[in-house]
């Protein structure tokens, strides 16, 4: 067939510059399309291009940067480019994992936005042939004083919980940060981890001429049309109005889809399977075809729809949830249908793999879209923007944090500590994770509330440790260092629980990349992440890019979040973060410094995001991890908790009262560092430090000395009744546990359950339609 048979469809809008612009296609990109096709595109084709060439699907501003990240290691079975990355663990068992963002949908409809984010990442993992075993989430919101923020926060948490709980995958960890920079543009990143046997790994590569393409699962409605390009635009008031129809999640159908998909994969009847995620049918079919370098044809009239009168354009771009695209072996259609029917799911053959090198869409007999070869995917433009640091941020970094005058009350470090413990970013997130089923599947050895979660892998004595971390303020003030820290902190968390960090997935949440200041952040953060990943030998196996996180108030902090997977060869090495036994020595691995810049202390106590973030040396972090793991392997470590937000004092306090019903006390003497500024010593966020409790400090110090990690005994664990005590030369500060524990545990419940309602209406003007 020639291309000339593609003709405009009656009733479709005319192709005008305005329409092209509305689809987010630049004039240069439009020319590229016309050149590729040798003619004017049809409306359906414009829709397809706008979806596939959106940032969300094409990574056009980030691909060259992402290519610089390390992706290989002997244990990596699947690197970037598939639905999820996969690493080998032990005895033929592997884990698949990936993180994905649902920032823009969650800003509009927090409950459904977050729920469907969880649904999507679950599908990414089970389409690799892996059974999901754990979910994590990384969340960013504005300050909780705003009713709209409380609405977003409670809706997002409920959405994540309801979806994962219903599907039966435990949510075992995450992080929540509150910072003015995310007001109006919350970040919702969800990570999923699944387990498979190595031989069960399946890839989303279409192949085999004549093989049928089958749509599976929920019917297609008009949900979220243009979700993908919507996620690639600033959230302005204008597009608040042209807001797409919200996708609604149905976790019940997802659970059926999960079971049916795993059964299908294991049945041998299918060649490939992929989630219909962002840009739905279009992106799943085009990407599967491109990976296999084959042609495909799809007939939109065969797609089961939920609503009448849907056009090919709508069917192709719909983002209805809980749908999959499957390529089956020819002649096995019935067997496929039978498996799905057992799970009450529909399947419809909607197309096939063809020899002709084209991506073709028909509406019955009529061709409504046709692209040559796989050029739709491979010809997507790539942009490299000039990078230039924002002068405002460079100036903020240059400011001296030690010049900030302390409040009078800070003379008592306990006062400051209490303020920090009640900062919602530091305070216990139990209010959040109690709403998540963290125990279903009865494999959660360490659930939320610790440095990293630990999940056992049935049939082995091994486990995986999981953590998700990021600090946007560090990245804003120094993207390179911030990128390094994000990876190193995630690795440290995993190591504290007794696991060897093995690989990462990452989510790059940034502003508008066409602005040189944002591109500078993106480029440097990725460079910093790459440096840390290379040194720690934790390659990147996948991830997600979410750009255009801006709103009329400004851009968000550039926020890469790192999902780290570590491996424990034996569950005997699982290490808690909380102090366990009275009388144990407290050892600090790593060293204290005078650094105070970019700290939670400056933000919480002084409202400032200034100064240089703490230095981060990945080689030193690697030594720290090696020493920690060796000590844990020798049974020398009773608990380990890393120093992050709030510094050493907060890490000690958390170790003592992380569990409300099992608090302990401590006495520490930091006189060795008496010459450091007091607030830097206690609240500065110097990297590479871990607080350990141990019955055998000498043996621990010996391991540290051998590996070249600074280590010192700084005190001992006491009973809760003895409270906490800091001695620093002439300074001594004490407190009972209760006021500190109250600050830590009661802050978020106090705000969220304290009676001030969470309102949705603040940002929306809405008239009743049926009143």
């Amino acid at each position: 067939m020639s291309q000339s048979h593609v003709a405009p469809r009656a009733g479709d809008p005319e192709i005008t510059p305005a329409l092209i612009k509305e689809h987010g296609i630049t004039p240069a990109e439009y020319e590229r399309v016309v050149a590729m096709l040798g003619r004017t595109p049809t409306f359906t084709e414009v829709g397809i291009v706008s979806a596939l060439w959106s940032e969300h699907c094409s990574y056009k501003h980030s691909r060259p940067l992402l290519r610089t990240l390390p992706t290989e290691a002997p244990w990596v079975l699947q690197g970037p480019g598939e639905n999820a990355g996969v690493i080998a663990v032990k005895d033929g068992i592997a884990v698949a994992f990936k993180v994905e963002s649902h920032n823009h949908p969650s800003a509009v409809e927090p409950y459904q936005g977050a729920a469907t984010g969880v649904g999507g990442i679950l599908r990414d993992v089970f389409t690799m042939g892996a059974r999901p075993i754990a979910l994590l989430n990384s969340l960013r919101f504005g300050p909780l004083s705003s009713p709209r923020v409380r609405y977003l926060f409670s809706g997002v948490v409920k959405g994540i919980g309801d979806y994962g709980n219903c599907v039966g995958v435990p949510t075992v960890g995450g992080e929540v940060v509150f910072d003015p920079s995310y007001e109006g543009n919350p970040l919702v990143n969800a990570m999923c981890v699944g387990v498979l046997r190595e031989e069960e790994l399946i890839r989303a590569v279409a192949e085999g001429v004549g093989n049928p393409i089958i749509a599976v699962g929920a019917r297609t409605g008009r949900d979220g049309i243009h979700g993908a390009s919507f996620a690639s635009e600033d959230l302005s008031e204008e597009n608040e109005a042209k807001r797409p129809r919200v996708q609604v999640g149905d976790p019940f159908t997802e659970k059926l889809l999960l079971e049916a998909s795993l059964e299908l994969i294991r049945s041998g009847h299918i060649v490939a399977i992929q989630d219909m995620g962002a840009a739905g049918l279009t992106s799943s079919s085009a990407e599967m075809a491109a990976r296999g370098d084959v042609g495909v044809t799809i007939d939109t009239t065969k797609v089961p729809v939920r609503e009448e009168g849907m056009t090919p354009y709508e069917i192709l771009l719909s983002e209805s949830q809980e749908r999959m695209l499957v390529v089956a072996h020819k002649g096995r259609e019935e067997q496929v249908r039978e498996i799905l029917a057992r799970w009450d799911l529909e399947a419809a053959v909607i197309g096939e793999v063809i020899a002709e090198p084209v991506y073709r869409v028909t509406e019955g007999d009529r061709v409504v879209a046709e692209f040559p070869g796989t050029r739709l995917v491979t010809d997507c433009p790539v942009y490299t923007i000039e990078a230039k640091e924002s002068t405002a941020l460079a100036e903020a970094r240059a400011r001296d944090p030690h010049a900030v005058a302390p409040h009078e009350e800070e003379a008592d470090p306990i006062w400051t500590l209490e303020r920090l413990l009640s900062s919602p970013t530091i305070a216990s997130k139990a209010w959040v994770w109690r709403q998540y089923d963290s125990m279903v599947r009865t494999s959660t050895i360490v659930g939320p509330g610790s440095d990293a979660a630990v999940i056992r892998l049935r049939g082995t004595d091994a486990g995986v440790a999981l953590s998700i971390d990021g600090n946007g303020r560090y990245v804003a003030l120094d993207p390179r260092v911030g990128g390094r820290i994000a990876v190193c902190e995630a690795a440290r968390n995993v190591a504290c629980s007794g696991a060897r960090p093995r690989a990462i997935t990452n989510n790059l949440n940034f502003g508008n990349p066409t602005r040189p200041e944002v591109y500078y952040q993106l480029a440097n953060a990725v460079a910093g992440m790459g440096e840390a990943c290379r040194t720690l030998e934790t390659p990147v196996t996948g991830g997600n890019v979410s750009l255009y996180n801006e709103n009329p108030q400004g851009a968000i902090h550039p926020t890469p979040t790192i999902g780290m997977v570590g491996v424990l060869d034996s569950l005997d090495h699982v290490t808690p973060s909380a102090f366990q036994v009275e009388g144990d020595a407290i050892v600090l691995l790593g060293d204290n410094t005078a650094e105070l810049g970019a700290s939670e202390y400056l933000l919480r106590l002084h409202g400032l995001a200034i100064g240089a973030p703490p230095a981060c040396d990945p080689a030193a972090e690697r030594r720290l991890i090696d020493a920690l793991l060796e000590a844990i392997g020798h049974g020398l470590v009773r608990s380990a908790h890393d120093c992050s937000d709030g510094g050493l004092a907060v890490a000690l306090a958390e170790s003592a009262m992380m569990h409300r019903d099992r608090t302990m006390g401590f006495q520490v003497d930091l006189t060795d560092w008496a010459d450091l500024p007091l607030r830097a010593l206690l609240f500065g966020e110097a990297q590479g430090r871990v607080v350990i409790s141990t019955p055998t400090p000498d043996a621990l110090l010996e391991v540290a000395a051998r590996i070249g990690v600074p280590a010192r005994v700084i005190g001992r664990v006491t009973s809760a009744a003895e409270g906490v005590e800091f001695v620093i030369g002439a300074v001594s500060a004490r407190s009972a546990i209760e006021p500190l524990a109250k600050a830590f545990h009661d802050t978020i419940p106090g705000i969220m359950d304290g009676g001030a309602p969470a309102e949705h209406a603040v940002a929306t003007s809405h008239a009743p339609t049926t009143d």
Binding site: G221, F252, E759, P768, D771
Partner: protein, 85 residues
Amino acid sequence: MTRFRVAIHIVPRRGILDPQGKAVADALHTLGFASVGDVRVGRHLVLDTDAESAEAARDAVRRMCEQLLANPVTEDFHIATVEPA
């Protein structure tokens, strides 16, 4: 001031997926109610409020719906009745 009793219906907006409605329809079919078609499941609120007039009560309730009771993105609300309590 008079006390009014107001009934409000809040239903998922047409075109928005209503998995609950679908599950209920399927269950009714299984129970033998074959002629049941579409089912939508929403919320039914009854509230008492004091106001100068029925119109004032209706206005207040409309604002309550906009600010809190109905989700502006996914739901439509309808003030069904306003009657002296």
